[in-house]
Amino acid sequence: MPEVLASPTPSPASPAAVATPSLEAVALCKSYGTVRAIENLNFTVKRGEVVGFLGPNGAGKSTTMRIFSGLLAATSGRAYVSGIPVAKYPDEAKRHLGYMPEHNPLPEDMRVCEYLDLRARLKEVPRKKIKPRIEEVMEMCGLQHKTRRKLIGTLSKGFRQRVGIADAILAEPEVILMDEPTIGLDPHQILSIRRLIDSLRGRLTVLISSHILAEIEMCCDRVMIINQGRLVAVGTSASLRRELLSRTEWRVRLKGEVPAFEQILPEVHAALRLASCSAPDDEGFVEIRLEGPAQETGLGEILLQALARHNRWRVREIALVEPGLEEIFLAATKQGDDTLAPATRQK
């Protein structure tokens, strides 16, 4: 008898169920011959979280997802889905998981409703529940009306992605894995998929792999960054920003003498320096970029006071430039594991 089934199965709302992570990787490794695709991967994803799985192409995102979905066997280490070891009980683990593979393969010659019906039967949805459940997911994914009877081969990329997501959530799994769900979509389609993922928040645990950083930043509660098969950073965008970036940046738009402005910077902070300055615009305003030490986000107010004291410039804007996930990603993937701050490692 499976060890997870030996004890009474916790109901979804029970404290035991909440305490069990939806996904857990313990020293997970996968090698293809001499090439190590992933190496010593350790992480957990809690119930109800929407987590982004970021990494450059070939970093090991898809390999990790395929191991969790039971498609690939890990070389060593363990992967758990809802506390169930995938290698030992793959069928049981698959009952708790919905997986949307990269490029979302779908049969071209089936109609949307026929395909979902087939998938529901494959996923062991009780016979009586199949029809209402299909209606429910089609409504959630915007596939009702004309689309439901259309051949999948005639659907646009956006609708095909919706069919993939509808399939992933069809059997009401605890966890869904989406491998590059917005790849090849136009901005409108990306927005609708993002809304769809948002609607799942709190109900399901979602792990989304992508290298589109803006999408991950907007959708996800937490981000995991993987590079060359190793997990190099885990946290929220804000915490990663603090921990990974060594400087903060401000944008100042003003009119007046720039060299004189540069001279007052030490009054604000000894480490504050002018990084760049644009040519004056039609009104004579220049855009100046300032760089200061990390985590000194209150310098803007001091700078404003200094400018007011000297009263030699017309100031239009002083803004802290929030580094995007792109900078975090670049910083995390540039650094080797050894140079990373311990706080950024898996907590």
Partner: protein, 243 residues
Amino acid sequence: MLAVSVAAYSAGVLFLLVMGLFYFLVLYQYNDSLRNDAPTAMYFQVFWVPVLFVVPLLTMKSLAEERRHGTLEAMLTTPASTLEIVLAKFFAAYFFYIGLWALTLVFPLIAMNYLAPHTPDSPLRDTASMTGGFLFVCISGLLYVALGILASSLTRNTLVAGMLSFSILLILTIGGNVLLHFNWQDTPFFNHFHAVVDYLQPFQHLQDFNRGVLDTRPFFLYASNTILVLGLTTLAVEARATH
């Protein structure tokens, strides 16, 4: 998918046309020179034509195309096991193949009722050879369809799968017959295998079935090899999907 596919019905109609032509030629030949065998027994002698052409066409897409499109991978992420998926593919193709053959039984029935309506001892009314022949098609079809599914599991290319299936079935159906026609039967090496080749001859089995001899050995041969081939197919799918 086969049951709702227009292509499947088109293939069915074409199959009936071809087999109808074969049955007509059998009747024509029978009329020209009276034979010992009943027309139905002669009709089932051409079973190798559908085996060589229909089985590869039916099975070549089953797993190869699923793998090429990635839909096999999507299927393997469901709780359905690899064996269940292979069995589903196998039975879908097998029942379609048997269904096509079952439709061709209309030809002897039409001949029976319209060409010899009041002659009970007419060779056209030989229901024993019809039942035996159809039973042979059902039993041998198990192995032939399983081999087609195995060929489809070994490659992503449907054309390669079809050709592989065709080659295996060609060797299995008429290979032994060709071998026995050569003059090397007297060589010591061949003597050892003569009994084996003879035992594997599907035409020999068909002849027995047509005569109403239901030997358990062909049943065992086809059933056991079908299980073996389906087991190998499951291993092939698992090996290619999970590594």
